[in-house]
Amino acid sequence: MTVLVVAEHRRGELRDASLELLTAGRQLADATGGELHVAVVSGDVESYADQLNREGVDAIHTVADGEEFNHDVYTQAVEQLFEAVEPTVLLLPNSVNGLDYAPAVAERLDIPLVTDAVDFDYGDGLTVTREMYGSKVETTMDVDAPQAAVTVRPAEWPKAEGTGDATVEAFDAAIDESAVRSTVTGYQEVGGGDIDISDADVLVSVGRGIEEEDNLDIIHDLAEALDATVSASRPIVDNGWLPKDRQVGQSGKVVTPDVYIAIGISGAVQHVAGMKGADTIVAINNDPNAPIFDIADYGIQDDLFDVVPALTEQFS
């Protein structure tokens, strides 16, 4: 069987998700002794093809249309490539852009789609493992179809390494311009405040467990006692309780402090994406099943309203 992987890039750079997809794709192809094909669409496809030519890649297809990601172009290009390559499984990243075109590709090709895979297996057919209820449970899905599309969770597989000897071929996609009805007009960085949390050595990070804005006082007190910087999970920023540039995670900042103290944060995958590189992770959460404990080095399974003031007290 053949696995077809579609790479992702943004503003001239191949994204890590692309190299992770190669590893995931190779795993799946190996399960049946099949081939791994890679597609890269738009922009400087020659240069991307060079970077994608890693160990285990059999063929790379380049589609030169367009400069940056546009879902109308991607949807058409991937649909046509799928019909040419006839893969058993189409693998796309479960990134924001992946979510913006994978469902359309699957719908047009009339193949099933399973999103956000954390593992898969190919026995009698494709089985995909994914998570539900904020990572508290895992579930397996059997896909009963000759061909399927799967989006792959970022940072779940290691990046592919080594150099490969894949064939690189330009694919001539017939893009129907009249079907391109969306236009990307630019990019914008999220506004910067005066503090860069990615520079901080110690982060006291607060999540929805804090419940109310006024309660943030105990977090600021702790941060002051520890000489640390305050950061947050998304709901705190969505509520406007802290500025946007304090958000840690997939759509916020990636931080790598010496110590990261996660307080009342569940550890959703999009949050973890931003902080798992911290040297020491401490979690304070009253739910012993919270996924944050899976990545923490130290934990307190108790009410933050008891623990945080007691901790501040230790330093005053």
């Binding site: 089985t127 539900m132 449970v137 895992e138 630019g186 000489d227 709901p235 404990f293 007691a310 007290e313």
Partner: protein, 261 residues
């Protein structure tokens, strides 16, 4: 103008729970309006409040138990609600995005909205694919993960929130399906008056037959085969004791790590 908002009741799992076959035992689940849908409703209601003649209709694929949640959306300003359900759907098990999109498409065919807003994902199954699948079925344009929206006559100007603090600015031709990200607005609480009024608003229940479908749409190639608590991969040292004791242990660790010195 008519805006259709897809609304889902989602379940959150208690701290302690037990798995029962392919589901979590209902005793351990708490139901609420999907977080992302709350922002989608607010966005639609704000458009209605700013515009001349805008009707906001919600559509839910869900059982009767979901009606309290749907009333929350009505209390926040949606004009009326549609709920699609019948015994066949109840027995179908997992509804994958392809199936849900077909059910919603049937509602779109009769409602003929000008714009559809949905949440980026549902907090429980987190497929994150229903909105874009629906757009593709309808042959409409779309944008996923929208955190800023300005409606023109023929075009929606949106920001799509990408990874790493970068937003993509995109013009999307209307009609379109937009999947709404949290933080795009500040969802209101339902007022007492809103809650009272919601009781009077129409909540229409439609079966598969009512929306013109037969049970074939429920045949999904995706079958859920297991559900389990994952083995904890964690190697965390968990401090035990009273809050004072655990805080003292943690303080010692932090000092060892050179914090606050």
């Amino acid at each position: 103008m008519k805006i259709l908002v897809t609304v889902k009741e989602v379940a959150a799992v208690d701290d302690e729970f037990e798995v029962d076959g392919l589901a979590i035992d209902d005793r351990y689940l708490t139901y609420d309006l999907n977080e992302w849908d709350e922002y989608a409703i607010e966005e639609a209601v704000q458009i209605a409040e700013a515009g001349e003649d805008v009707e906001v209709v919600t559509v839910t694929v869900g059982p009767e138990d979901a009606e309290d949640t749907i009333r929350q959306a009505l209390a926040k300003g949606a004009d009326r609600a549609i709920r699609v359900w019948d015994d066949a759907i109840a027995e179908a098990g997992l509804l994958d995005p392809g199936t849900k999109a077909q059910l919603l498409e049937a509602v779109v065919a009769t409602e003929e909205p000008d714009l559809i807003l949905s949440g980026v994902q549902a907090g429980d199954d987190a497929f994150g694919a229903t909105g874009v699948t629906l757009a593709s079925r309808l042959g409409w344009e779309w944008a996923a993960v929208v955190n800023d929206l300005e409606l023109g006559d023929d075009v929606a100007t949106v920001h799509r929130e990408l990874e790493g603090g970068v937003e993509e600015l995109t013009d999307v031709e209307l009609p379109a399906v937009l999947t709404i990200q949290t933080g795009i607005n500040d969802p209101r609480y339902a007022s007492l008056r809103g809650i009272r009024q919601a009781q009077q608003k129409e909540l229409a229940v439609q079966s598969l037959a009512d929306v013109g479908l037969d049970s074939d749409v429920l045949d999904s190639p995706i079958e859920q085969t297991s559900l389990y608590e994952p083995e904890s991969e964690g190697e965390a040292t968990i401090y035990e004791g009273s809050a004072d004791e655990t805080a003292a242990d943690l303080a010692e660790l932090l000092r060892e790590q050179g914090v606050a010195q």
